[in-house]
């Protein structure tokens, strides 16, 4: 079992290095970012206590993937397997537990701990014959796949919008829209297999234009109910909302282009830094979007055999 965790830490270190982060920087930055994000979340919404465990359960759910666990079962004895799953789940939720305790949300911390322990006993069976319906089936794949993986996040976002209207808290409504954008962001975090780009008989520019249009259209479909509901119930903030929606479009354009600016590799440090700078100072987007665009065209040209 020791060897397993040694291997996992090696894999994690390699991921950091591939991402372009020296290990010392990574292990310094990670706790700082975690505390910053947690503080940010708790400062922005009073419902952070409920959102926080859901975020914590994300990686635990990923570790419940049956294929991975079936492999572990073939390697370890039954007892070691459960020990291993339990330790893994605890490692993942300890930072979240610590912050919840710091926030004196002891009951939520207990529930999270209990769920982490319970989930060590179960696999999330993804190999089901039931196909989750999606409104994006006609234009695969990012939103088709993403929606099926994250539809619960949209249910939470719409629920938060409803709560924000009930308790007349515009900020919470705004947060629900941020949640939708962040989820859509995640659809573009990994590069697809080159085969799926190679198949397109279009120029790089048309390809990128198509990707951006699909992304913005589908985001509109998901975000519009929130925008409409908030516009009706917070009419005094409609200008902020429209401005915010346009910012979302700009960020989504940037993330699509950031993905292809590193393609066929995964996005790494330069893209992450630029995106983080854009989040902190949005006007930078005016320069970053064309920069990502030209890099994307350059990367896609050899794959799409586009000589322009």
């Amino acid at each position: 079992m020791k060897e397993y965790f040694r291997l996992q830490s090696k894999i994690l270190n390699r991921k950091f290095i591939d991402f372009g982060l020296p290990l010392l920087v990574a292990y310094t930055l990670l706790p700082i970012l975690f505390v910053w994000f947690s503080n940010f979340l708790f400062a922005k919404t009073e419902f952070a206590g409920y959102v926080y465990p859901i975020i914590a359960l994300g990686p635990i759910l990923r570790m419940s993937e049956p294929k991975r666990n079936d492999f572990l079962k073939t390697v370890f004895s039954r007892q070691d397997y459960f020990k291993l799953r339990l330790v893994e789940n605890l490692i993942c939720c300890i930072p979240f537990l610590a912050f919840l305790i710091y926030q004196r949300l002891l009951i939520i911390a207990m529930v999270l701990l209990l769920l982490a322990i319970l989930m060590a006993r179960f696999n999330m069976d993804t190999k089901t014959n039931f196909t989750i319906p999606t409104p994006f089936g006609k234009k695969p794949f990012e939103f088709t796949v993403g929606f099926r993986k994250t539809f619960l996040a949209f249910a939470i976002a719409y629920l938060l919008t409803f709560i924000s209207i009930m308790v007349h808290n515009f900020n919470l409504g705004g947060f629900s829209l941020i949640l939708v954008v962040l989820v859509c962001f995640s659809y573009y975090s990994k590069p697809e297999n080159v085969y799926y780009v190679w198949n397109f008989s279009t120029s790089s520019k048309t390809f990128l234009f198509g990707k951006i249009t699909t992304c913005l259209t589908n985001f509109t479909l998901l975000g519009l109910p929130i925008v409409i509901a908030l516009s009706i119930f917070f009419i005094e903030n409609v200008n902020i909302l429209i401005g915010f929606a346009f910012m979302c479009y700009a960020y989504l354009t940037a993330i699509v282009l950031a993905k292809y600016s590193a393609y066929p590799d995964e996005m790494n440090l330069p893209q992450a830094i630029l995106l983080a700078m854009c989040l902190m100072f949005p006007p930078i987007l005016i320069g970053v979007i064309p920069f990502f665009y030209s890099k994307s065209v350059k990367n896609l040209n050899p794959i799409l055999h586009d000589s322009n």
Partner: protein
């Protein structure tokens, strides 16, 4: 028509393809045979434009890649995507209008189910269906018969024959010699990244015998099975 001249490809120090010259004509089916790791897949990836290379690959169509259907040995699939959505994605990518996918489901695949629930053979059949519906002129099929049931094997054989009839070019690799012998007009034998020989249909039987002799030889005796 595809003409390959002086094609070489290296991965680091390892030369995988070494000065390959071949010509593939329209309306013909070609087989590529050779041991594992001899460079067949790399050759296919070069023809498809998925790898950079030294040398020249030219064709009588403007942008070969846009009229070429490539079936990989182990096709890649996204999770949480149905068979129908996969076909739609690949067909849309080539701007082909397809109205009723179900009618073209010749392998009777459960198109509304996630591909992750498919068996290896079903995945192969799905990938093949998708590239057939892309209306390509050239087909590069890397092990199309692998993992596929006997009935589908027969169907794929007939599909390849039909492609020839339609004047399309098909380049196939397979470790099942009988399927190649039935479908191909010419077979190229590869060894160490080179084309060792080109064999016409009339000499297929000799090639098979030669390969058998070369592959089996006294290899089994080395095991000293008791």
């Amino acid at each position: 028509m595809i003409r390959i001249e002086n094609l070489s490809k290296s991965f680091g120090q390892k030369k995988v393809l070494d000065c390959i010259d071949i010509e593939f004509n329209n309306g013909k089916v070609y087989g590529i045979v050779g041991e594992n790791g001899v460079g067949k897949t790399t050759l296919f990836r070069c023809i498809s434009g998925l790898e950079t290379y030294e040398g020249n690959i030219s064709s009588d169509v403007d942008n070969l890649k846009d009229t070429l259907g490539f079936l990989a040995t182990e096709p890649f699939f996204f999770s949480k995507i149905t068979g129908k959505e996969y076909i739609r994605f690949l067909v849309n990518a080539r701007q082909v209008k397809l109205t009723n996918i179900e009618d073209k489901n010749i392998f009777d695949l459960p198109l509304n189910q996630y591909i992750s629930t498919y068996s290896t053979g079903m995945k192969k059949k799905l990938a093949l269906t998708a590239i057939l519906l892309q209306e390509n002129k050239v087909f590069v099929l890397d092990e199309p018969f692998n993992g596929v049931d006997i009935q589908s094997n027969l169907l794929i054989t007939e599909i390849i024959k039909k492609l020839r009839e339609l004047g399309k070019t098909a380049i196939i690799s397979s470790h099942i010699f009988s399927t190649l012998a039935e479908t191909c007009d010419e077979i190229f034998l590869m060894k160490s990244g080179r084309i060792l020989k080109k064999v016409d249909r009339k000499d297929f039987a000799d090639l098979e015998a030669e390969m058998k002799e070369f592959s089996i030889g006294n290899q089994i005796a080395k095991l000293e099975l008791k």
